[in-house]
């Protein structure tokens, strides 16, 4: 019963035998450790001491140039330029002698010593033991002064590092994005992957989306330094490898034009090739000069941008807004597909529509008279769409909107792209815990209410309408090139489904859109051209619900309506789709359509807007 009593003392139990074996094994291993220690420290001690004295090898990381970004013609949109930074070694710059050196540096930099010292102490805390960068982007004069006094400045080094620069400034801000220096928190997270305090990260647009491909691989340099911290010789070096470069579908010429057309306003322009979904231009206005992010913001400038009611940091091309009458295209397709109306069906618009006790007004208070589908699109008659919207019903209408790509990101892949919102019964229940009201269907049918879409979604949708029904995923990068210019990756158009509509439906909707620009009473006449047929649809989205229609110009800026216009041309064989969105711009026909008109004239005829 008692375990140990089963064995006589002379004969240990098997477990004990194995423990004794373990002791012998471990003793052997420790003897080995001991002997090796003896060998290293006593026998070879002098050898290693000599090595330690001579040795002054250190590994430095060399930052890799970021890949370039080119437009479709090969014009540089983002590149690198060398910049000089002032680095000091915290092991040498310390104590009273270190203060002496900092004083000399302060004199050269034209800075007060206390402030420089303070900056140094702060910077040192972040980087720990490596080089501390005291100043970026030195001018040539300062560099020359420091080089000349090198001998009196031990532990001070000028390093050349590639710095991002953006030749087109704010004009491509929202498309290309920007890079900025890694912050302390990110550094903590990314340090195991080899990031250091002087690295940049892509923050928005293409710079963020393709950050990993653009970044390249760091090089390393093994150098011998003397006891005073000066580099004596390079022992081994592994050159950094530049990141991959992007070639875009975007044309910087159209991009700049679109940017200029939005001058003084807030808004977005998306130009797409409807045949395969490639973007020719993606503009959000206003932008910010990305160099501010690279070099650091002056506090005043940052304050200005933060308080700007035009929100320069927000990419409006894929932010979501109520679509206004542009959505009538979706309602029209739903009506024809559900056979609620035929193209010949007419309704009489007397300026309002009655649903139960509620009155829904047409934007033209005296009415449009008899309208059929094409006419309704031409004059943007609200009553017609109230009526068909009511008969189509929210379930079918919301399903059609989703099939058109609304309510989800377009698949462009930029960080921050919004999904928009297609309201339906389930959404209403989830968010407001109330059943859907019939009146809300009427609002949705003319693009008001909770409905929200992005300019990019509308471009994708209109492209599908005019190309025969194929939804293409918007894309803007054609190729990735390695540092030698060889193509590493190539992108092709990607289909994202088909519109669930018959060709006949598309035919009549297109006819309505052509009438909206070319018809006598068309709302988008401002985009008309002489010899090229343009089709399009205006939209005016109410920002604040109002009893009476008040002219937008009389309202404070933030309460004015949003103006939309989406167009395609040439109508017979569309090769370009443009969506113009002007935030708080007022009426679509007068604020957005002329912008699209100017762009199309420049595009097809080379006419430059003055």
């Amino acid at each position: 019963m008692r375990y140990h009593q089963l064995f006589s003392p002379e004969e240990p139990d098997p477990f004990e035998r194995r423990l004794r074996g373990t002791i012998i094994f471990i003793a052997g291993v420790f003897l080995l450790l001991f002997l090796k220690l003896f060998f290293l420290q006593i026998i070879k001690g002098e050898h290693y001491r000599e090595l330690a004295r001579r040795r002054s090898l250190k590994v430095f990381l060399l930052s890799a140039p970021r890949g370039n970004i080119y437009d479709r013609r090969g014009i540089l949109l983002a590149g690198n330029s060398p910049s000089f930074a002032l680095a000091v070694d915290p092991k040498i710059i310390r104590g009273p002698q270190g203060d002496e050196i900092l004083k000399r540096l302060a004199e050269i930099l034209g800075e007060e010593f206390p402030s420089l010292k303070q900056r140094y102490l702060l910077a040192r805390r972040g980087t720990g033991t490596n080089q501390v960068i005291l100043a970026f982007d030195l001018d040539r004069d300062t560099v020359a002064k420091i080089e000349a006094r090198r001998y009196f400045l031990p532990g001070v080094d000028i390093i050349v590092e590639p710095t991002r620069y953006y030749p087109f400034g704010s004009e491509l801000f929202h498309l290309v994005g920007y890079v900025s220096r890694i912050n302390a928190e990110e550094l903590k997270r990314l340090a195991p992957q080899g990031f250091t305090a002087d690295d940049f990260l892509g923050r928005a647009g293409l710079e963020a989306q393709f950050d990993e491909r653009l970044r390249g691989r760091k090089g390393r340099r093994l150098v011998e330094i003397d006891a005073r911290g000066r580099i004596r010789r390079v022992v081994a070096e592994e050159a950094p490898v530049m990141g991959e470069s992007l070639v875009l579908t975007v044309d910087v010429f159209w991009q700049r034009l679109a940017h200029r057309l939005l001058e003084g306003q807030a808004g977005a322009i998306v130009v797409m090739d409807p045949r395969d979904g490639r973007l020719l231009s993606l503009v959000s206005h206003p932008g910010v000069d990305p160099m501010y992010f690279v070099k650091g913001f002056p506090p005043k400038e940052w304050e200005k941008i933060r308080k700007d009611e035009k929100h320069p940091l927000l990419n409006k091309a894929f932010s979501a807004y109520p679509p206004g009458s542009t959505f009538k295209v979706v309602t029209a397709m739903a009506a024809l597909e559900k056979r609620v109306v035929t193209p010949a069906t007419t309704f009489f618009c007397k300026g309002y529509y009655r649903l139960g006790r509620r009155i829904f007004r047409c934007w033209r208070s005296w009415g449009h008279g008899e309208v059929n589908l094409v006419k309704a699109l031409e004059v943007s008659c609200d009553v017609y769409f109230y009526r068909v919207g009511e008969e189509v019903g929210i379930d079918y209408l919301s399903r059609m909107a989703r099939a058109c790509g609304l309510g989800r990101p377009t698949g462009l892949g930029f960080p921050g792209e919004k999904a928009g919102l297609v309201p339906d019964r389930a959404w209403k229940m989830r968010v407001f815990h109330e059943p859907w009201q019939k009146g809300e269907t009427l609002n949705v049918a003319i693009g008001q209410g909770a409905l929200k879409v992005t300019p990019l979604q509308l471009a994708k949708l209109l492209s599908a309408v005019v190309n025969g029904g194929t939804l293409y995923r918007p894309w803007c990068v054609v190729q990735l090139l390695d540092p030698y210019g060889e193509v590493v990756d190539e992108f092709r158009p990607q289909e994202d489904g088909k519109l669930p509509v018959k060709p006949r439906t598309l035919y009549y909707v297109k006819k309505g859109l052509v009438a909206a620009v070319n018809g006598k009473e068309g709302t988008g006449r401002a985009a008309r051209m002489e010899d090229i047929t343009v089709g399009g649809k205006t939209g005016t989205a109410q920002v604040v619900g109002m009893k009476k229609r008040i002219h937008s110009k009389k309202l404070p800026y933030l309460k004015r309506d949003h103006a939309w216009f989406m167009a395609f041309a040439p109508a017979e064989k569309p090769e370009i789709v443009i969506v113009v969105f002007v935030e708080h711009g007022g009426h679509g026909g007068s604020a957005a359509a002329p912008i699209a008109g100017k762009f199309l004239k420049a595009y097809f005829k080379g006419e430059h807007p003055s």
């Binding site: 008692r2 375990y3 140990h4 139990d13 098997p14 477990f15 004990e16 194995r18 423990l19 004794r20 373990t22 002791i23 471990i26 003793a27 291993v29 420790f30 080995l32 450790l33 001991f34 090796k36 220690l37 003896f38 290293l40 420290q41 006593i42 070879k44 001690g45 002098e46 050898h47 290693y48 001491r49 090595l51 330690a52 040795r55 002054s56 090898l57 250190k58 590994v59 092991k91 033991t129 390393r220 093994l222 022992v235 081994a236 592994e238």
Partner: protein, 359 residues
Amino acid sequence: MKLGQHSLKIDGWLILFVIILLVCGALNQASATMGGLLFKKQMVWFGLGFLLMMAIALSDYQRLLSPRLIFGIYLFLLLVLLILDLKHTRWLRIAGVGIQPSEFAKLVLILVFSLVLHRRDQDHLDLRTFGILTLLAFPPIVLVAAGDLDQGGMLFLIYLSYVFLAGVPRRLLIGLAVIVLVAAVTLGPKVWMVLKPYQRARVAAFLNPEAFRLDRGYQILQALIAVGSGGLTGFGFKEGLSSRLNYLPEKHTDLAFAVWAEEWGFIGAATVIFLFGALIYRLLRLAIEVREPLGRTILAGVAIMIFWEAFINLGGILHLLPVASVPLPFLSYGGSSVLVNLMAIGLALSISRKRYSFR
């Protein structure tokens, strides 16, 4: 049978060795971290760990370690490891303090294995027990290895040790050795090809550090220079060249012993190695003296855990083994490592108090 006073006594040798090692660890961290914030943190861990050790030492481990509790902890550990793997991190953050569950996994495995062997008490390992051990070992090993290959290897070594400790029949042992040998010869080159480049680099850097001075070899070379240049008496406290001039990477964690050997020389380094040897020897001696089967298996496990930790770390620094990222108990920085090792010693102390008593 000696009952009474003896059963309350704490094993003096064990606690003496641990205290000296803790003092060495404190001195070493004071130098390696230049007495900064990390040093203060480590001291807090030491204090906390010591209290925890004494609390466990004075408790009745037989009452403390109910099978239900052990398996409960085991399942909880698996859950935590799984969640961390899914979040791609090794760290569990509790109230701003980072904990490494992979460290605690070692102790949990020891308890679970000991319990299994105790429950199926036999002279030799039968196939069923072997199966149970393996089945219990692999989930945590795989989960830990996914985020930290070196710690996963550590757990695997503990598992292997337990299999041997349970007694593999001699014929089987010889058979296994033959199979491993044949596999190494025939499959070795193929496995080599399958290994990831950084894994290959680690072995290649071990064989020829000079040729890899930019990569892992840098670490090995600097560690060797630091240790070797220490000579007989070392550079003195806080005077190490390699450590002061930051040639040593990871000097407060993986390479902490190199700092120690550089500053305290052969006298100091040999003392630490001796202390580890003595500590492990004492634990195994106690395992022989203790007759209670669960207790002695745990004691043996604690000894084996500390042995592998010390051997892998010291062997890497002394260039007997490829460098693995494993902390040296008591000398390396790290709260989880300190807590786990001190808890294990606490358990050993508690068991040793009962070595002459029976229930």
